[in-house]
Symmetry: C2
Subunit: 266 residues, 2 copies
């Protein structure tokens, strides 16, 4: 793991109020989750003209396992480029909040060779991601292509970045809670403010927290911003096992409240 | 001009209800307008490792004339790549509406060589686009870079695409109305429905239009979607000269209504 952020370490010099060894998603898992949530990206290919220049183009994509797949025209520049040199990468970037810090957004660059494919699984994966493309999938100059990932670079924001191997990438699964995370967060913040404070008091060193806001949830746990006497501080709480559904999260949140109240003697 | 859209021509076989030779923004102008409206993009560089692969990375940028400028760390992958090979491109893509057709979005690939620059104009342009970057601009491992545009590929959506020369790019100016276009369109649609119908009746062959919605405005004119007996049809009306401000557009819209009503004898 390396960093190109000059202040990554300064942000971490503040003592954490929770165990930093709690399970968290790996970079491979974070990158897979990001890629699964987005269906447009930038393809980089080696240009035929001007020869040898790296050429970025906007593409729509689907995923077969961890490999991006495309439906592209022989007439397009990137297709001509790939016919000349199969080496390519795909930059998948999180869309930002207006006014937010763009460099805090997650992104991943998948590198590998991109070649035509007639596999039914490739076609099915692309059309699942882009159903409206079905009407031109049969045009003679359009073909399906697959980028076989050889390595990738993940950047989750400031100070969270690394190269990931293709084996780690292939083994990783997108977070099953990603599609429902926003709804879980909204629900907990709207309706369970007291539970969030109890979690902070019982499961972290933010024992003076006066309020807490859930900021993230993933299969391995959830994160809050706790308001303490020293200001807002991040808190992470782990689930006892990886969870996959809203129902499992709901049950675990209830169990955690009971544990927290027992621990606190309330 | 070429096309990688198999159905671009079919959409054009329907008879236009306005003069197709009305002045419209050139592709260079459309691309400059797009680039001026966005400040994040994908940089493509030639990777040091894996050697020779085209490497896409997320970047923030500013513009000096038509050249993109960056503030990047020596520790970042793309910087190492550019130190090894200055050839690069920048893909700037319009953000989409949720649910819209992603391939209808505008995008431009600027190709050229990217090199460090100590020009004050480069620094000023980057910091104008990213004021919050000032706090790390002085860090030792961060430097300003400039991509000198040699050629570019513009894709405005289906059937609107071409290569643009660096001289056309340098000469083009972003549309001065772009920052206020949304507000002009909203105002015309909310408050001047009768004027829009009058424009269609007087200045196009949509003489049976029963309603019209403004869809775009640029320095050279504006566009509407007119509801005719044959369904919705695009209409363009030209301004008599290039306009630059909301006030000039307002005055011209009033003058056009007078001309339209005189023409229609109302």
């Amino acid at each position: 793991m390396s960093s190109n952020d000059p202040h990554a370490s300064s942000g971490r010099s503040q003592e954490l109020l929770y165990d930093p060894n709690l399970p968290t998603p790996s970079h491979a898992e974070r990158a897979r989750t990001l890629a699964a949530s987005i269906n447009t990206a930038t393809l980089a290919s080696v240009a035929v003209e001007p020869a040898g220049y790296p050429y970025g183009s906007f593409v729509t994509f689907g995923l077969v396992g961890g490999d991006p797949v495309f439906l592209i025209s022989e007439l397009a520049e990137h297709t001509k480029n790939l016919r000349g040199d199969a080496r390519a990468s795909l930059l998948i970037a999180e869309e930002g909040e207006p006014g937010g810090d763009p460099l805090a957004r997650g992104r991943v660059t998948l590198l590998g060779r991109c070649q035509p494919s007639t596999d039914e699984s490739v076609k099915a994966a692309f059309l699942a991601a882009h159903p409206n493309a079905a009407y031109y999938a049969g045009f003679g100059d359009f073909h399906f292509w697959r980028l076989q990932v050889e390595s990738l670079r993940y950047i989750g924001g400031y100070g969270r970045m690394s190269w990931v191997t293709s084996s780690d990438w292939s083994a990783a699964r997108p977070d099953p809670l990603a599609p429902v995370a926003a709804e879980i967060i909204r629900h907990m913040n709207d309706d369970h403010a007291a539970a969030l404070i109890a979690y902070c008091h019982a499961f972290s060193r933010a024992t003076d927290a006066t309020s807490a806001t859930m900021t993230a949830v993933d299969r391995y746990g959830f994160e809050m911003s706790a308001i303490t006497a020293a200001g807002p501080r991040p808190i992470r709480v782990a689930f006892p096992r990886a969870l996959a559904t809203t129902e499992e999260v709901r049950a675990e949140m209830v169990a955690l409240v009971k544990r927290a109240r027992a621990h606190l003697g309330r």
